[in-house]
């Protein structure tokens, strides 16, 4: 199986830049996979898990905080709001973020930014899920 270049870039750094044989992305309408020689595509992504790797070998995971992906000339670039490799995730921090978000949602204060707290919770749960597989 042929491989292609895969990069995940955030505002602060390049999280991953490697050759892979497949990538699975969290699209707005659900997960979808990308293989080498895919037609040029631009896709909006939601908060979710990015999986990638060689076909036979270790699969790696990234916790993605939303963003979008662009593939052309056999190069797939994901521009992300936030992105963390599974092995980089600080489980204790994610745990704390989860508890904080849950507490905030439970308090039901008037000035609560509901969507924001929900997104925070979603991200924390995702990070825990991704880190769990490590």
């Amino acid at each position: 199986m042929s491989s292609f270049r895969f990069e995940v870039v955030t505002q602060e750094r390049t999280v991953v830049s490697t050759d892979v044989e497949y990538v699975v992305l969290p699209g707005l309408d659900g997960k979808f996979g990308i293989l080498a020689d895919h037609v040029p595509i631009m896709a909006a992504l939601q908060i979710g898990i990015v999986e990638f790797g060689p076909r036979k070998g270790r699969r790696r995971k990234i916790a993605l905080g939303g963003g979008f992906a662009e593939m052309h000339d056999n190069k797939l670039v994901v521009l992300a709001n936030t992105a963390e490799l599974a092995e980089e995730i600080d489980i204790l921090r994610a745990q704390r973020a989860k508890e904080r978000a849950e507490r905030r949602l439970a308090e039901k204060r008037d000035d609560l930014d509901f969507t924001r707290a929900q997104i925070a919770l979603q991200k924390a749960l995702l990070r825990l899920e991704v880190a769990d597989g490590e």
Binding site: Q11, G27, F68, E70
Partner: protein
């Protein structure tokens, strides 16, 4: 000599302690500047890619002829929103006052401008003038992070979509090198009139036909906020680098001035001491002469 030796000694000591402080501040600014300069460079790959993708998606949306999202629509109104980036602290030469001066000029031209303020210096200045702000951000610290930019970007996005203003401009200080920075206006919205610097020419062929998943509009709804956040983050980082550069230069000048002052005072101290010695000798010689005669 008007001053006594002891008085001069005291002044020298006081200036020396000031010099120690300015030297320390210079070194701190230099160390932080190095880190921030790296951050400036690190934002570029992301930003350039995002700019190219945005251009592609915009072109595709235009071709599709469908109703485009509100955030992308061009507006003709002249209601401005100005995002002013200054520092929280002073002692940075003319850094803050230059930005504030440009903001004042902008306000003179467009008096109904809504303002988003970053940095205590601008906030205090405009508060004294009884200006109201859409939002203010202080104590952002010395390491701008994307989350801060996202907070600011969110506010701008929401108010723009809710039709509170028609154009958004960032007023920041561009970092050219350690001693040179330039205050600049950078228009972000409407997206079609964004600053050319924010729309790098695509290296890929613009004719490449992309598949949009799920649709062009939905891709734009994701890309445009990312783009606004990135433009703000970039400006925050550049402004921070300029601030640190300005502080470093200001503190170096202060240290140099202190050094010169100390040199002059040392000279007058020596002169005063010499005068005392000469006087004493003259007295001894005078006394000896009196005894001999």
């Amino acid at each position: 000599m008007a001053q006594s030796g002891r008085e001069i000694k005291r002044r020298i000591a006081s200036i020396e302690s000031t010099q120690q402080i300015t030297k320390a501040m210079e070194m701190i600014a230099a160390a932080k500047l190095r880190r921030t300069q790296e951050a400036v460079l690190a934002t570029r790959p992301y930003f350039e890619r995002l700019g190219t993708s945005l251009s592609h998606a915009l072109a595709a949306a235009e071709r599709s002829g469908e109703d485009i999202p509100e955030i992308v629509k061009t507006r003709t109104g002249q209601r401005h929103c100005l995002v002013v980036l200054t520092a929280d602290r002073g002692l940075a030469g003319g850094y803050n006052s230059a930005v504030i001066r440009h903001a004042e000029e902008f306000l003179k031209e467009y008096p109904d401008t809504q303002m988003v303020i970053v940095g205590r210096k601008a906030r205090d200045h405009f508060r004294r003038r009884n200006q109201t702000f859409l939002a203010e951000y202080v104590n952002l610290g010395d390491d701008p992070n994307p989350r801060q930019a996202q907070d600011i970007g969110q506010v701008i996005y929401d108010f723009y979509v809710h039709d509170l203003f028609d154009r958004v401009t960032i007023l920041y200080t561009k970092f050219i090198n350690t001693v040179t920075h330039r205050v600049e206006f950078r228009q972000v919205l409407p997206i079609a009139e964004r600053d050319p610097e924010l729309a790098p020419q695509g290296r890929t062929s613009p004719q490449a036909l992309y598949l949009y998943e799920p649709s062009v509009n939905e891709v734009l709804e994701v890309v445009v906020p990312l783009f606004i956040d990135a433009a703000i983050f970039q400006s925050l980082v550049e402004a921070k680098a300029s601030e640190l550069g300005a502080r470093m230069t200001a503190m170096r000048n202060a240290s140099d001035n202190a050094g010169e002052l100390i040199k002059e005072l040392n000279l007058s101290f020596n002169r005063a001491r010499q005068a005392v010695i000469t006087k004493e000798i003259a007295e001894i010689v005078g006394g000896a002469d009196a005894l001999e005669s």
